[in-house]
């Protein structure tokens, strides 16, 4: 076992890309993320971080979506290697 705790989106640094593997929140919060186009299998790239480090803007299906760290923590990811 290489990874015991899954990586979450808040660990993604600007310029890095990842694939969403799971959403760990429930109810309206989960629904909101899915409505924004964030589902298991979606490719997501960290683009910009605000001066205080929160929120961060992510590129999702061609659009920039700003998420708070609290939201990003609920998005499990697998890093995409390269560049």
């Amino acid at each position: 076992m290489l990874e015991m705790t899954p990586h979450t989106l808040d660990m993604l640094k600007p310029g890095q890309a990842a694939t969403v593997t799971a959403l760990t929140c429930e109810g309206p919060d989960r629904r909101r993320l899915m409505d924004l186009g964030i589902l298991p299998g979606t490719t997501i790239v960290a683009e910009l971080t605000s001066p205080l480090g929160d929120p961060t803007a992510y590129l999702v299906r061609g659009a920039l979506v700003a998420l708070r760290r609290e939201q990003a923590r609920h998005i499990c990811i697998a890093f995409i290697d390269g560049d």
Partner: protein
Amino acid sequence: MTAKTLPTGACETCPVAKNATLIKLGLNVEGWDYVVALAGNPNTGKSTVFNALTGLRQHVGNWPGKTVARAEGGFLYKEKRFKLVDLPGTYSLLSTSVDEEVARDFILFGQPDVTVVVVDATRLERNLNLVLQILEITDKVVVCLNLMDEAKRHGLTVDARALSRDLGVPVIPAAARKGEGIPDLLQAISQVAQGEYVTRPHRIKSRDPKLARAVEKLALEVEAAFPGLPNARWVAMRLLEGDARIVEAVRTRELGNLSRGVQPQPVRREADVVLETMR
């Protein structure tokens, strides 16, 4: 003579020259025949489409959340008066923020004759979420594939005919800020409103029969509690899901305000007054 000059004369009587019969009525929305709602994700050009059809100058800006309340305008097309309602942008009918609720309430309970969903051709995938949700609750839908000029610039092509076939409703490519596609959009709106174009909206099938039974049972209760409320099945589904906002709207009977007045004859007028006083 520029390349843009259109020939006149014989063309005016030809049905192909659809724009010839558009009369922009601006704010004059008295005595309409049909109500058309303009819905779509934020920043897809709804207000630009609105202005192109009504001749109004509703503020257009390139940022999301610009249209907070609804704007209304009118146009006359082939001797029918249309009232057009420009709604705030929304990603979904399910997870709504406060300004998105204005759009959701009108789409669900305002009973528009036609709902035009304006989608961003350059970000089609994420826009189709709302299209599918709207197709679940109404079959009078026209999809306006806007920002086609931008899509072209990015080297994207969209097969509008295949999309129309898959969705079961008209899909009209447009570049509203240049007026491109507006004549086709008008024709599609008019055809769907008058039932000349019979839509076959794509609906998600194979729902669990247990769930279907529960929805039916609860929908009857919702209808009994709120006579005349449109989309009782949608409400029932949200209640089963535990949507806190809808549960509250049922408990406080706020939901009834949306349906009251939808019963009497000039259906849409009453519904609008009710929606207006709600805010």
